[in-house]
Symmetry: C2
Amino acid sequence: MAQVEVLNGGAAEKAVVAFTAVKPQLVVEAPKAGDAIEFYKSAFGAEELGRTLHPKRKADQELPLVLSAQLGLAGTTILVSGCTDESAAPVKTAGTGCVLCLETEDVEAAVAKAVAAGAAAEGELVEGDGACCGGCVGKVKDPYGFTWLICSPAKKCAEAE
Amino acid sequence: MAQVEVLNGGAAEKAVVAFTAVKPQLVVEAPKAGDAIEFYKSAFGAEELGRTLHPKRKADQELPLVLSAQLGLAGTTILVSGCTDESAAPVKTAGTGCVLCLETEDVEAAVAKAVAAGAAAEGELVEGDGACCGGCVGKVKDPYGFTWLICSPAKKCAEAE
């Protein structure tokens, strides 16, 4: 595999690099990208800001390949991309991986809305012991295999049965 | 497994749920959490905002369990958590998964700095065809198994050999 050469490791180490945004990118199986975008709108109220389709795939295939859709959610841009052969993401071992934590004042309603849209709730709402944002935490798994923690910023949990 | 009951699916579907933040949480093997935090500071200039340790593990184990460290990066909070038995994340299949895209004006320097800190560059810098933020894209894999896309917002790529 080709590697980018580090031409000047010393200088690079000291360089001040400014980042202007962090955008989680959810890579899903290509034919499911369109559905995934609709799901995130419905489950979390994400707003579609733009969608880039593969130029060659548009014409000759039934389902256009979504290279990247930009979804706005709580001031963050989340990217949803159809998986292509070249964009293979790493296989994580069980127990490790990237999950997305959504902060809200109303965890119970947010979990219920996500479940109504097709996510699966995992476990009960629990008081976070520091594992997430510190407050009440609910967990849902979406139909595309991603886990979302839905948590409140403060130490308050609605009465969950 | 216990499931959160959807008591009133209809109402939930219509509920307006406001999210105040999206925080990517990187779950790493518990003994590596401290190293991972240092790596993200060194590689990306993340700033540690806070760290919550497991109260019971602090006293009787050599390495305290990091329940959650909050790292500030480009206005976003990234959480780094040590994996506990209860916090199992899903195993993703090859090609799909969550990657984090970092936007910067200087992709080349950012990739070089990450590599100097211990990340592995994957492939050359390429002009994005829409797969990410639309500009120049570099890809690095960090020592904890996470893939980061480092991309410029506009269509400009430094001369990469």
